[in-house]
Amino acid sequence: MKSRLLPVVICCAMVACGPGHSRTEIRETRIVPSAAAELSPQIRTEERAAPRAQEMPPLTWQAPEGWVRMPSTPIRIANFHVGDPANAECYISVLPGNAGGIEANIARWRMQMGQPARLAPDEIAALPSIAVLGRRAPLVEVTGHFADPDKSSASDMLLGTVCELETQTVFAKMVGAEATVRAERDAFIAFCASIEMAQQ
């Protein structure tokens, strides 16, 4: 009896361990408005409020050597991993209007780095400025611990700049391990200076 069962058991085990190919009929359907179907399915509500790709200014930039290009997202029109190992990121984002203003955005970045004290207007005016899109924009440098626990390290640093245009505000930000960000400071400034409006 045992000898008869053995091949069956072996066959069953082989079938269970081998690659499986299943074919399933799709049974669930729903009717969606065409407009909804055209929306990007991943854009969250708060991101929907951000300008859509076609409303963003057509920007170009020169990425420094060694930065790893990542796919853009609904918020980040340029997106890079920086460092080896990649323990910092740098991206450009664009928001409509003044997006709360320079002072509020610098305060937000400082808060993200665990530095809640807001800078006074004269302190903001005293920040070093860099060239972005043919204008001068403040260069924000904050050290501390980044608020996102998945991205924070023992010591983090944030470099950022806010450039207000007529109808939109352009942000460039690098955040990550302090040693990497500090080493890439000049590259970040050169990256910001390379941002231009594309010729249409």
Binding site: P19, G20, E28, R30, I31, E46
Partner: protein, 391 residues
């Protein structure tokens, strides 16, 4: 051994008190070990592995594999054990009435848990003031949605729930078809948490499709933060043409496939369910504790639109809205870093659970059963006391 004798033995085993004790001890162990495991791996994943499965392997001290039955299996066995021992086999009479009622309550509770596990859906919807929606999304489950070419302002979406392809082993594939879709979609590989990379972006080699590949990431502690990805293949049923692609949960736009003379859009997105009515947010009120940014209360004033009928309603932290089997709770709000004058959105948790009221009903039955039992015991004791005095 005759079939009757075999049945008697099986029934005796199924209704045995020793089996009850073993099952309860195993449930205790599983709860204890699962609770410890949650510290490192997060609530959702451990719930799925320890409490929603038939079997689980617990790694004691990080290196010793300990195979255990999952809570799903244990509770199913407990149901059978209680039914056989606590209802069928138990002596019937007035003295056991309370125990019988309590056991019936526990059985109803276990059956309700089964219905909830199998059929309940939970998700959320986020609305700015002025927004309206008739669908909600899951925080943890995903789907592949294939959208047909639209006509007349609406389009048909064909949905493949993630449960149909998330359990694929390394070399498994799953093919999905529908008579109205001119191609078959095959999921060759599914990654629970991943990142889409341009092929030239990384140093490691890996499967690449049209310049893109997926990098495997460890599961996030919060399940809602996992971004799945999948390698898929579309086979045109008319021409036999094969197109491979990478789907990623955070893609900004769906994949477009040309088949049957039309363009079809395919997206890996959070599982979405439609409501049989629409909710429009009229006003969202957030009150903070004075001098702090801690919310004291938040209230969503909404209009419930069901066909031609419209009704105003208020959803607050302890005051959900119930309609047509769905319950909408005030869950959250955002954006998290909103300034004083920034527009806020409300997030409503939406649940549909056919057994929503079962725990309440079952608990009432169990309480009533225990009350009956203890009253009968008390009466028996008082009678015995009186009998002792009179004798």
């Amino acid at each position: 051994m005759s079939a009757g004798r075999l049945f008697e033995r099986a029934f005796a085993l199924a209704s045995s008190t020793a089996v009850s004790v073993i099952l309860l001890l195993l449930l205790f162990c599983l709860t204890f070990l699962g609770t410890l495991e949650q510290v490192d791996r997060g609530l959702f994943e451990v719930q799925q592995e320890y409490f929603g499965s038939l079997f689980v392997v617990h790694w004691a001290f990080g290196f010793l594999p300990l195979p255990l039955p999952g809570a799903y299996l244990l509770m199913a066995l407990l149901f059978v054990n209680l039914l056989c021992g606590g209802v069928v086999r138990i002596r019937k009479g007035w003295r056991q009435a309370g125990i019988l009622i309590a056991h019936a309550g526990i059985l109803i509770l276990l059956a309700g848990a089964f219905v909830t596990f199998q059929y309940a859906v939970r998700g959320h919807m986020s609305l700015f003031e002025g927004d309206a929606a008739n669908e909600f999304q899951s925080s943890t489950a995903w789907e592949i949605a294939i959208t047909a070419p639209g006509a007349g302002g609406s389009a048909t979406q064909y949905v493949i729930p993630s449960r149909d392809f998330t359990r694929l082993r390394a070399k498994d594939t799953a093919t999905f078809y529908h008579r109205a879709i001119p191609f078959e979609l095959t999921v060759n590989r599914h990654l629970k948490n991943s990142r889409r990379l341009l092929t030239d972006a990384g140093r490691e080699a890996g499967k690449s499709v049209e310049g893109h590949r997926l990098e495997i990431l460890p599961p996030a502690k919060e399940p809602g933060e996992n971004i799945p990805g999948a390698y898929v293949k579309m086979t045109d049923m008319g021409t036999g043409t094969i197109q491979e692609a990478v789907l990623w949960g955070a893609d900004a736009a769906p994949l477009v496939v040309a088949a049957g003379g039309a363009q079809w859009r395919i997206a890996l997105k959070r599982r979405t369910w439609q409501l049989p009515f629409t909710i429009a947010l009229n006003q969202f009120i957030r009150e903070l504790h004075p001098g702090t940014d801690k919310p004291r209360s938040f209230v969503s004033r909404v209009t419930k639109i069901d066909g031609d009928a419209q009704a105003a309603a208020e959803i607050s932290m302890n005051k959900p809205l119930r309609h047509k089997g769905y319950t909408l709770y005030q869950a959250s709000w955002g954006p998290a870093n909103a300034g004083p004058n920034d527009p806020l959105f409300t997030t409503l948790a939406v649940a549909r659970n056919p057994a929503e009221q079962v725990p309440l009903i079952a608990t009432c039955i169990i309480t009533f059963g225990l009350l009956v039992h203890y009253c009968l015991k008390l009466l028996g004791y008082l009678r015995a006391q009186n009998a002792g005095r009179s004798s």
